[in-house]
């Protein structure tokens, strides 16, 4: 057995998850990404703005990168979500099967609640 293998322990470690108690959305909520094009450092890709998806998981609260980029402390931290989209909704001429999906991280202030049916399916792998 090598050194790395001997170093393993079974001791449970504290979770590295950042709590996000004051959040606006929950897993499974339908959302729309704001269709807005402000200048500056933004982590929301252009191609997803205005698109509709579903909250896949809550990543926790993180310093706001739109402030960090300019030398500020990024506080208050913003809640970060992972959002799942259907590819053929994001790209109207998408060539693959209708079940293909794309997921990405979106900060809460870029999200608005969506209404109505037609949500992406969930391959249930997140346990």
């Amino acid at each position: 057995m090598n050194r790395a293998a001997r170093g393993r322990t079974r001791k449970p470690l504290p979770s590295t998850y950042n709590p996000a108690p004051g959040r606006r959305f929950n897993v499974g909520d339908a959302v729309v990404i704001k269709r807005s094009f402000p200048p500056g450092h933004r982590r929301t890709p252009y191609y997803i703005r205005g698109k509709r998806g579903v909250i896949e998981r809550i990543c926790g609260a993180f310093p706001n990168p739109e402030e960090l980029a300019y030398g500020f402390d990024g506080k208050p931290a913003k809640v970060l979500y992972r959002v799942r989209f259907l590819q053929n909704h994001v790209w109207p001429d998408y060539a693959g099967p209708a079940s293909d999906i794309i997921e990405m991280e979106i900060f809460e202030h870029w999200l608005e609640p969506a209404s109505g049916p037609g949500e992406p399916p969930a391959p249930d792998e997140t346990g």
Binding site: R3, L13, R43, Y47, C59, L80, R82, G96, D100, I102
Partner: protein
């Protein structure tokens, strides 16, 4: 990092194998950017390092060691972690739940990175990209390959992932959902591939050999015939 030497044995073992491959050259050709005068960013970076050294904040040895760790140790961590997940179902569960905490169990400190491990299944194939820059789980896979940082990969893989996969030799049937992850903010991603048939009874070290970088990014899948049982 708690014990930087913990992986040296593993890294050296792999390097040793690599060095004896036929046709392997000890010296990589000099990259084009190493020729000619240094760029503005290289000069700024060099000036910053010299100032920090002069002020006693860091030493040249620390910088050298960090670069060495990046090249000698980090690229092998991902394969080790996923090989362990293949052989230990309880660890696999913990990895999927909290990637950073699970890596820490194995002595793999991801520093600032939060890790989401995404699981390939018979009906789901995962693929990682960063369309905004080139976010990559460096502490797990080392430096990103050139193609990962290319505009071609970053712009195309989000809207024609199957065409890009095909260029990597990976053809997936229509009933398999392609799940693309745009690594656009604070999380980093690693794919947990499906363990191929024909690897029953392999040690974690043998399994790690077929868990190459590209399988952990999701542009290909591990194959039993590429290892040496």
């Amino acid at each position: 990092m708690s014990d930087p030497s913990a992986f040296d044995h593993y890294a050296h073992q792999k390097k040793h194998v690599h060095d004896h491959e036929p046709g392997h050259h000890d010296h990589a050709p000099v990259a084009a950017q190493d020729e000619g005068p240094p760029s503005e960013y290289e000069i700024m970076s060099r000036a910053m390092q010299e100032l920090l050294e002069a002020k006693g904040v860091i030493t040249a040895e620390e910088v050298r060691r960090r670069m060495e760790t990046f090249e000698e140790e980090f690229p092998y961590r991902g394969s080790r972690v996923i090989a362990h997940a293949w052989t230990d179902p309880a660890f696999r569960k913990r990895l999927l739940k909290d990637g950073k905490a699970a890596c820490a169990e194995m002595g793999v400190e991801l520093e600032a990175d939060r890790l989401i491990a995404v699981e390939n299944m018979p009906e789901v194939h995962n693929l990682i990209v960063c369309t905004l820059c080139s976010c990559y789980p460096r502490a797990l896979l080392g430096m990103p390959p050139t193609w990962y940082k290319s505009t071609n990969y970053r712009s195309r893989v989000v809207f024609e992932p199957r065409a890009v996969l095909k260029e990597f030799g990976t053809v997936l049937p229509e009933h398999v959902t392609v799940r693309v992850h745009d690594s656009n903010a604070d999380m980093r991603y690693v794919v947990v591939p499906m363990r191929p048939k024909g690897t029953e009874g392999w040690s974690e070290e043998q399994l790690a050999e077929i868990l190459t970088r590209d399988t952990l990014v999701g542009v290909t899948v591990p194959k039993a015939e590429s290892g040496n049982p």
